[in-house]
Amino acid sequence: MEWMAWTLPTAVFFVVIALILATMTLWELASPSVPRRGFLPMATTRGDRLFIGLLGSAFINLAWLGLTDWTQWGAVVLSVLYLAGVMRWG
């Protein structure tokens, strides 16, 4: 594993992503998702909304990093709120 040059923050990041995916799989098995229409312009399943939430979060972090000098934790908090909003009302 040495060649992959792991660091603690990136390891935590990937573990969180893996846990989210595992949880979503179990959730899907327990109660299969039905596409529904929220504020997004098309019908989405839970998995779609997670993808939209994660992709959007990546761009929120990049925009925060490129456009502001504030601490990156602000972007992380904003991303979590955005992800939760998309999952619930998207």
């Binding site: 060649w3 992959m4 923050p9 990136t10 990041f13 990049l62 990093l65």
Partner: protein, 289 residues
């Protein structure tokens, strides 16, 4: 009939999952790890956090390369898609002539990308190239090695020559799949050629057109070999596209950290466009729910 829930078929996906993990997911995770560290050697690395991302995001050269790349992809789609449709419409429908035309049209697709670059490098040369000399003889000053506009035009024309056949072949296949009954109905109604195109052929081509747009966008957004061989990114930086910028960073300067940070941003942009196109394909023609 009662449906029996059985998810064991998912195990059949396992080989693909293992292959993708080995060839894509693990390398991508390594790139993420590299992007937050300054790597001096295999056992000598320093954690730098988001510093490289910040550096890359504020890099003026990168912004310019991104603008060039978007502009290039925009022109590629704007020219190749209508031209591909027009060629597909003009091709013979059946007989030996149809087969001959299809083979001739498909020829540019069979040529390796670096060879395409070399062909055009010689073809467009203002001193010995057939096209370059011909254009200059017409009284139009043309020199792709010195003039940024000429270089741009040459890269664009080369891409159109190389990839319009793909769009044409896809559209041709799409057109052949339209049942004759539609055309018979149009004849009975006395529809004009334009009406047939607008209300029968174009809607029926929607599926293949979206695939063509998707493929052409992705390929043009990741273009590397042809402009690298043709112009080497010059004159100046005028034809340096994103992938060439990345290669210079990673292989030329061996700045693995910034190159990894840039790769992730590049990947996210492509992922975003892929998702937009995929969603559009999925939702086209579907009634709003």
């Amino acid at each position: 009939m009662k449906k029996i829930p059985n998810n064991r078929a998912w195990f059949l996906v396992l080989p693909v999952f293992v292959t993708v993990a080995f060839s894509a997911i693990i390398p991508l995770m390594t790139v993420v790890n590299y992007s937050v560290q300054d790597i001096f050697g295999p056992y000598n690395r320093v954690f730098v956090g988001t510093e490289f991302f910040e550096m890359v995001l504020q890099d003026r050269d990168l912004h310019e390369a991104l603008q060039r790349q978007l502009l290039f992809s925009f022109w590629v789609l704007l020219i190749e898609v209508p031209l591909g449709i027009a060629i597909a419409l003009a091709l013979p429908v059946r007989g030996w002539l149809a087969s001959l035309c299809l083979v001739l049209i498909a020829l540019p697709l069979l040529i390796p990308w670096n060879v395409v670059g070399t062909i055009w490098q010689i073809f467009a040369r203002p001193d010995i190239g057939l096209a370059g000399v011909a254009v200059n003889r017409l009284g139009i000053h043309y020199n792709y090695t010195a003039e940024p506009f000429d270089a741009w035009l040459t890269v664009l024309v080369m891409d159109v020559w190389h990839w319009t056949p793909l769009v044409a072949l896809l559209c041709y296949a799409g057109l052949r799949a339209i049942p004759d009954a539609f055309y018979q109905a149009a004849r009975i109604d006395g529809a004009s050629a334009w009406a047939v195109f607008r209300y029968i052929q174009l809607p029926k081509l929607r599926g293949v057109l979206m695939i063509a747009v998707l493929l052409r966008f992705m390929d043009s957004f990741m273009i590397y070999t042809e402009p690298f061989v043709l112009t080497g990114g010059g004159p100046g930086n005028s034809t340096t596209f994103l992938s060439q910028f990345l290669t210079t960073l990673a292989v030329g300067r061996f700045d693995l950290g910034p190159a990894a940070a840039f790769s992730i941003i590049y990947f996210l942009i492509i992922l975003l466009f892929c998702w937009i196109f995929y969603t559009v394909i999925e939702n086209l023609g579907r009634a709003p729910r």
